[in-house]
């Protein structure tokens, strides 16, 4: 799995100036920053909030832009946004009562040509906090310390949670 890091994001060259302008109330800069951040937030919220991913992404971006004045170092933008997006996605997923695993009758037949659909279905059988740690470790490629900081848990908890999430994912995938 290829990790995604801030250096791979497009349109980051003029980012510090864009962040400063948005912080100063320039809505043109804010709209441009929204164009840069929306795909990233959508990618983070989708696997965690699933069917409520659009709501989660919208709420996460509202939180980002209402708090943008608190971001002191524009270079830290993507890490800061990531922490907000994960938090909002887990919150929205839990609120939508998606914490309970799906019924086994929802498991798709093996050989389903829609691999993306299968991944989505398997993720749907995991708890939101398990989806969140899979996104951070396996989609974003973050280290254990960073993941535990974002999720506000100890590194030991993050490690065991990741182990359980991966095992659960494999079990559901192999069904």
């Amino acid at each position: 799995m290829n990790p995604i890091d801030a250096g791979e994001h497009p349109a980051t060259a003029g980012l510090p100036g864009l962040v400063r302008a948005a912080q100063d109330g320039d809505s043109m800069a804010m709209a441009e920053l929204l164009d840069v951040l929306a795909p990233y937030v959508a990618r983070l919220c989708g696997p965690i909030a699933l069917g409520d991913g659009a709501d989660a992404a919208q709420e996460a971006l509202i939180a980002v832009f209402t708090q943008i004045g608190q971001l002191r170092e524009p270079a830290a933008l993507f890490g800061w946004v990531r922490a907000i997006a994960i938090r909002e996605a887990v919150r929205v997923a839990r609120k939508a009562h998606r914490a309970a695993p799906a019924e086994l009758r929802d498991v798709p037949a093996r050989g389903d040509p829609q691999l993306a659909s299968e991944v989505r279905d398997v993720l749907g059988r995991l708890a939101p906090h398990h989806r969140a740690i899979l996104v951070l470790r396996d989609l974003e490629g973050l280290d254990e310390q960073t993941v535990s900081d974002i999720l506000a848990v100890s590194t030991g908890t993050a490690k065991s949670r990741l182990h359980r999430a991966r095992r659960r994912f494999r079990q559901e995938w192999d069904r």
Partner: protein, 158 residues
């Protein structure tokens, strides 16, 4: 397998909601129009014709092209007031900012046709003091029923 992970669909109207919720002094109105998004946008994005129809305070509008998606729009009000807007216009999305005013439009598919959003707002110091009245700005300033009429007329001409 990463490319197969689900991605949230953040359509332009949801982006407009983000702008409305994040910028003090703005109000957002949403309207369902019984027509395809491409057709609605074809009508709405003709700023010169449609903005004076939709915005109560605009008497006339002229638009000049800029680089890429950028445009410049000059609006004149009924009392002779003028405003120069920087504009970003692309399919489904339009954002406009002048010294004192903000406008935004967005369109996205909806089961009943098109969800259309219009944002209006003021860029004034201390505008948050007007907070209890701000939710009235968008609905009071814009006539989205006229957009529906214009879209239906456009459909009839096709």
């Amino acid at each position: 397998m990463n490319q197969h992970w689900p991605v949230a669909d953040l359509d332009p109207v949801r982006k407009l909601r983000v702008m409305a919720a994040s910028i003090p002094g703005t109000g957002l109105t949403e309207w369902i129009i019984d027509a395809p998004p491409e057709l609605v946008w074809q009508v709405a994005s003709n700023l010169q014709a449609e903005m004076p129809r939709l915005v109560r305070d605009f008497r006339s509008v002229t638009v000049t092209a800029g680089p890429g998606e950028r445009l410049v729009m000059h609006a004149r009000g009924y009392l002779g007031q003028r405003a120069r807007f920087d504009v970003v216009l692309r399919p489904g999305w339009c954002w406009m900012q002048s010294r004192f005013l903000l406008c935004g439009m967005a369109a996205a598919p909806d089961p009943d046709g098109t969800r259309f959003g219009f944002l209006g707002g003021l860029r004034l110091p201390g505008v948050t003091l007007l907070h209890p009245l701000l939710h009235l700005i968008g609905p009071a300033a814009v006539r989205l029923d006229r957009l529906q009429t214009d879209v239906q007329r456009h459909l009839g001409q096709q």
